[in-house]
């Protein structure tokens, strides 16, 4: 006779919001195994049991205040309503926003670690201290994504120095966007929506190397602003500054050749991490190099597009140093106020999304 295995009763927890013990469920306090005694709420009285005295999930209620069969706050296990994910939007999500509202679309371009995500999350983070360049925060459909990506640049992360989580490279190379709604006195509604790309640097390596990759990025013709970043830290490095400027030039050239930057596009050349340049003994030489490259890029780009701007930013400059100090506020204000796109054609084209994904899979394989 084989030894019998003791039957362990898995007790469900009646704490509101806790779905531990149910298929796909999780402890509301985020504890992997709440049965080990670390969860302050488990087991909560009123729970049913699996394998013991069973109670079906539909029978379990966290609410002792039921009124006419209804409850407020408490709920049966099966009766939860999903909320919007508050994560970065995919192309379809972006299409929905641009279809519903007059939206400024901003594509932030740059190779890996040039500061794309830092720039975007820093703009959002500044609203925690008050309006930015006179624009107030009016909402975001991607709050959780913003907060997650700001985390490593905050005191709560207990890091020694600020950092920013890198944009994930999705398997499909899917286009992803962060959403901000801000006040704008030039808008009919008083509000303006911004969709800002959050694209991995490797996607721009592909654009740099192939105009076909630029064509495949369906958001580019719709972009009100195409923001090409140049990493200030690399501009400081004599051995890498020319390569850095050349990469930016190649990306812009590729987009022009592909016809995705047009007279409806505003191109912005943006230097990031300028605080490092300002603190350097070489700052005068770097500024001269920067000015020369901006002039060169303007000569290349300006005849093909509707607008050309150059900005110097240092996103990690403390807010207490004053809004203008970082250069970030002027940049965002330009995104809010300026557009050359026709309102009637304001939505992002997402036709053939499967073809895009197939192309991107091929592209991903090619860069590995």
């Amino acid at each position: 006779m084989s030894a019998s295995i003791p039957e362990v009763a898995l007790v469900l927890c009646a704490t509101p919001g806790c779905t531990y013990g149910l298929e796909g469920g999780r402890c509301v306090n985020g504890i992997a195994d709440p049965t080990d005694g670390r969860c302050p709420d488990y087991p909560n009285p009123g729970a049913g049991e699996i394998n013991g005295t069973t109670t079906s999930s539909e029978d379990i209620t966290t609410d002792s205040l039921t009124k006419d069969g209804e409850s407020i706050g408490g709920a049966t296990r099966a009766s939860f309503v999903p909320l919007s994910s508050a994560q970065a939007l995919n192309a379809e999500g972006a299409y929905r926003v641009t279809s519903e509202r007059q939206t400024r679309v901003v594509v932030v371009s740059g190779l890996t670690r040039t500061g794309k995500t830092t720039l975007v999350t820093n703009i959002y983070d500044r609203f925690h201290a008050g309006p930015v360049a006179g624009h107030s925060f009016a909402g975001s459909q991607t709050l959780l994504a913003f907060e997650e990506w700001c985390h490593e640049s905050r005191d709560a992360s207990e890091r020694v120095n600020p950092d920013t989580k890198r944009s994930p490279l999705t398997i499909s190379g899917e286009q992803r966007f962060l959403h901000l709604c801000v006040t704008d006195d030039q808008s009919e509604t008083g509000l303006r929506d911004l969709l800002i790309s959050d694209l991995h640097g490797e996607l721009f390596e592909r654009v740099r190397d192939s105009s076909a990759a630029a064509v495949a990025m369906t958001v580019l013709p719709r972009a009100d602003h195409f923001v090409q970043l140049l990493d200030g830290e690399l501009l400081l490095d004599m051995s890498r500054r020319h390569e850095t400027a050349a990469d930016a030039r190649r990306i812009l050239q590729s987009c022009i050749t592909a016809g995705v930057l047009t007279k409806r596009s505003i191109v912005q050349i943006v230097a990031t991490k300028w605080d490092l340049v300002s603190a350097s003994a070489d700052k005068v030489a770097v500024l001269a190099f920067w000015n020369a490259k901006v002039a060169s890029l303007e000569k290349l780009v300006a005849p093909h597009v509707g607008g050309f701007e150059a900005h110097i930013t240092s996103a990690r400059t403390a807010v207490s140093a004053g809004g203008k100090a970082s250069g970030v506020e002027d940049l965002m204000s330009s995104w809010v106020r300026n557009s050359l796109q026709k309102p009637a054609a304001s939505h992002i084209e997402v036709e053939n999304p499967i073809i895009i994904r197939e192309f991107d899979r091929v592209g991903l394989r090619s860069v590995k």
């Binding site: 509101p16 909402g139 005191d155 709560a156």
Partner: protein
């Protein structure tokens, strides 16, 4: 029943952990269930919840003690139906999450009970609690480093100390998101679930423990604008969605942890006289002011 008449208005009472909901509830309960100091003629028409627990809160409040932290439990919910001369009709105050922890869980898990979903679609307004003493504020590391730089000329040794004392970086946890973010998301979710409405939703912001801020010589609305900036901007930038008033509320009347202050407060014959409400330069002890504002006809505002 009286409270089931058509005139009853329903309000959501919301706030995160230790935001002052329990103390406010304790004081309101005391006023509504006692004749002394009940100049508003407030009465409890109906009640759902753990009466014993609310009475325990009231006892602590009357004795000038710290109202115990509401531990997260199955019975987190309280519904209080009040009527009174100072109100233009019966009102239902519902606290679906007395401990304040569920709202964080909903934010992190991106789901909430269908019963709450149905409830928020029917509410007439919100009492939203924030506490200056327990507010979780985001602090950019660049700010922290700038402050360190300003007080020390020896940045290099500071960095060595920081490196040496550094613990492993704390991973992102949505349950620990800044209060203003969770509350922006809560209001956005509520308005999203309610759909398009002709009238904006009234939000009475209750800044609790206001006695701790009185030395700052600032109006509650100005403090809210400065210290809960994201939420303040969100509410004020959407006048089609929200109408807001900010009240500074000291339900205890002072710092009860200071023995001399507590003694002075306890000398008052009516505990209700300890209460101080500050709004638009007016200070009084009428705890129903935020409720009256929520009930005001649009024409009066």
């Amino acid at each position: 029943m009286t409270h089931d008449t058509a005139r009853k208005r329903t309000f959501l009472v919301a706030g995160l952990q230790s935001s002052g909901k329990s103390t406010f509830l304790a004081a309101l309960w005391h006023i509504a269930t006692n004749d002394d100091g009940n100049e508003q003629g407030l009465s409890v028409v109906d009640f759902r919840g753990e009466r014993g627990y609310v009475q325990q809160l009231e006892t602590s409040w009357v004795q000038g003690e710290v109202v115990p932290h509401t531990r997260r439990a199955a019975d987190n919910r309280v519904e209080l139906v009040l009527n009174g001369a100072s109100l233009s009709g019966p009102i239902s105050l519902t606290l679906p999450d007395l401990s304040g922890e569920d709202f964080r869980a909903y934010f992190a898990n991106r789901e909430w009970p269908s019963s709450l979903d149905e409830f928020v679609q029917a509410i007439d307004g919100i009492l939203l609690f924030v506490n200056p003493l327990t507010l979780v504020q985001p602090r950019p590391l660049s700010e922290v480093l700038a402050i360190e730089d300003s007080i020390s000329l020896d940045r290099q040794s500071d960095d060595i100390v920081r490196e040496a004392s550094a613990v492993d970086p704390t991973p992102w946890d949505p349950q620990r998101a800044p209060c203003s973010v969770v509350l922006v998301d809560l209001l956005a979710t509520i308005t999203n679930r309610r759909g398009r409405r002709a009238d904006p939703l009234r939000v009475a912001v209750i800044v609790s423990a206001w006695d701790t801020m009185e030395g700052a010589q600032v109006e509650p609305a100005r403090w809210f604008q400065r210290d809960v900036a994201l939420l303040d901007q969100y509410i004020r930038s959407n006048p089609r969605l929200f109408e807001v008033e900010v009240f500074g509320v000291s339900a205890q009347g002072g710092d009860i942890l200071d023995p001399s202050v507590r003694e002075t407060l306890l000398q008052q014959a009516n505990p209700t006289d300890r209460v101080r409400i500050t709004c638009n330069g007016k200070i009084d002890s009428d705890l129903t002011r935020p409720l009256s504002w929520l009930l005001e006809d649009e024409a009066l505002t």
